[in-house]
Amino acid sequence: MTDHSRDVAVVAVSQTPAYEAFAGPEPVLIMRCVNDLLSRTGLERHDIDFTLAGSCDYLSGAPFAFVSNIDGVGAWPPVYESHVEMDGAWALFEAWIRLQLGDIDVALVIGSGRSSPGNNREIFSLQGDPYLAAPLGLDPASLAGIQARSLLDAKIATEADFAAVVERSWKAAADNPNAMVRRSDTADQLLDQPYYAAPLRAHDVAPVADGAAALLLVAGDRARELCERPAWIQGIEHRIESHHPGYRDLTDSPSTRSAAEKVGGSGTFDVAELMITHSHEEIIVRHALGLGDDTVVNPSGGPLGGHPVMATGLVRVIEVASRIADGSAQRGLAHASSGACLQQNLICVLQGDD
């Protein structure tokens, strides 16, 4: 949406490293981000009007884990909060909508997860249609493999293109202190690896991590008080496609394109952070967004350098906002995705003051 009455900006961001296995409770991950945000802005807990979190109880197999997660924000006196069983990027969307109502100014947005106790491939097969897909264990990596092969068969990409995405992502991740992967294989070396979900290899699938991310979303003049260079949200929108893969053109992402069109997602971007959880998706999303060579894509390394499930999409927003805050970018695009084969896509366009 672009037609809105209030300007809202990201004024502070925080993220934990992407851990292979974090040896502590999820609220601690959240607490570290929240304390970081508060100390950085000088805000107190009671200055936050609305708290929004995205997480998934299935990741660690703990029913109502999202309730315990509120421990991480300090829940007494009681706080005004909401939760989405989705990536934190969708919590950001809800927070942005909430701030449009005009009666509150400051929202805390969180995404978090501890995936290490569970089996991601099994858990996320439950996202599929409960009659036709989930009983088969039809999982996101296998479906991603089907999508990747659609690209190969349509001669849109080659396996070498997939490897090139990974090589470049890992190279960028080397400079990201929060990334998990510390490897520098060349594309040729990667192509020698065995298949995992053919035609995808293990490195084509974003490595699942434990982690949390959080940001403060603030409206109007309050944002300028709290931050020298706020990252203003020019627009944020999400769109979804059929959950039956056979009803979709898997070589394209029309939901990404239409979400971007709604928020003025064309034109020039200094930076784009894309939620690429399987290497071939970058080719599809770049094309759907019409990104040119003048846009730096995933300078953080993106999810292929570390995928803290349920925080990964919010981290894309954080990576763009922090580049606007430090002046290295003026206008940026953050993309988040949910469901198999890029089923649902969120686009957030951020811009700094001139």
């Binding site: 502590g24 409770p25 609220p27 421990d71 829940a75 089996n119 009983p135 088969l136 493999g145 065995p194």
Partner: protein
């Protein structure tokens, strides 16, 4: 003692999260699944198109479709596929296989399903496949799989009696992780016959068991913040649970679960299992003493990073005979 030493002594947490979902099928999927059980593949007409598996609605306009299903060919063409090298426990085969989009002859959208091809070298886009019905069919999408066309064989089909109107999906997920360091020390304390709490460096409040952090002050807590708390306390709340029947239920008779505030603690132990008292014997304010199981018979089963069921280490909670505590002063703890 360091964390590694505890990990050697205490087993990791293995959790099986398992429960069935029962869903009604609705008229369209009900017919489709009934067809599968009876060895028949059915689709639905949408204008000039045939959709299989059938949807209740036009996927573009969302208009409801006439729920009159038509038989569909059991042969088709692979549109795209992915090879599963290392199947998980939720996959339909325990050997490598393909997931594929299969366009059945005469239909207009592909179906996602499994192809048991034996080897990745047998798979290709455009290959012809056929449905292989299973000997045992229950009215589920798992009643069949695809095979290369020449490998399908006939199965004796005996039609079932009643139409399929529900499906049962068993969710079954395994989790494995070490105990967190603070939880491992708490568990070790239980084996030693003592409760270990954590005192907040910010507020001085004592949490039993500690969570590794103070949820009110947002500070992390560690071994330096730990202390032993007495095993005597006060009932701050209780409930009598009458068991209802559900998957995995082991209880048959009503039982008591209580919150007990140990002396010196600021957070009650919650959901404490009380088997030695009757409903009329328990009340808020009642003073109780933990009676530990003998050393060597203490069992940490069920203790994980979330829950601390104490039944394996504490045999019972005996009334101390002291006068009751003032219930009005316990209101803060009635959780």
């Amino acid at each position: 003692m360091g964390l590694l030493a505890y990990r050697r002594m205490l087993p990791d947490v293995d959790l099986l999260l398992e429960y069935p979902y029962t869903r009604t099928t609705g008229p369209v999927l009900g017919q489709f699944l009934t067809g599968l059980r009876d060895g028949q593949l059915l689709g639905i007409r949408n204008g000039d198109e045939v959709l299989c598996p059938p949807l209740e609605y036009d996927p573009t306009t969302a208009q409801a479709l006439d729920p009159l299903l038509v038989e569909v060919a059991t042969e088709g063409t692979v549109q795209s596929w992915s090879w599963v090298t290392d199947p998980t426990s939720t996959h339909p085969f325990d050997h490598p296989f393909a997931f594929a989009l299969v366009l059945l002859d005469g239909t207009d959208h592909a179906m996602a399903h499994a192809v048991d091809a034996g080897s990745i070298d047998e798979m290709s886009t455009g290959m012809r496949v056929a449905i292989q019905f299973h000997e045992e069919r229950t009215g589920s999408i798992t009643d069949f799989h695809f095979v290369p066309l020449d490998r399908a064989h006939a199965v004796d089909i005996v039609e079932g009696a009643e139409p399929v109107t529900t499906i049962v999906q068993l969710i079954s997920l395994n989790y494995h992780e070490p105990l967190h360091a603070h939880r491992a020390r708490f568990a070790q304390g239980l084996l030693d016959g003592r409760f270990i709490g954590q005192r907040s460096p910010a507020s001085g409040k004592v949490y039993v068991p500690g969570r590794g952090y103070d949820p009110l002050e947002r500070v992390e807590m560690g071994e330096d913040d730990e202390l032993t708390v007495t095993d005597r306390g006060t009932v701050t709340s209780f409930t009598v649970i009458t068991p209802v029947d559900y998957y995995g239920q082991k209880e048959t008779k009503p039982y008591i679960r209580a919150s007990i505030l140990l002396d010196g603690s600021d957070s009650p132990l919650i959901s404490v299992d009380i088997r030695n008292l009757e409903e009329e014997d328990i009340r808020v304010g009642l003073r109780l003493q933990a009676i530990w199981r003998p050393e060597g018979e203490r069992d940490l089963t069920g203790i994980d990073n979330r829950s601390v069921p104490l039944e394996g280490v504490i045999e019972r909670w005996d009334p101390t005979g002291e006068p009751d505590a003032d219930a009005n002063k316990l209101r803060e703890f009635t959780q």
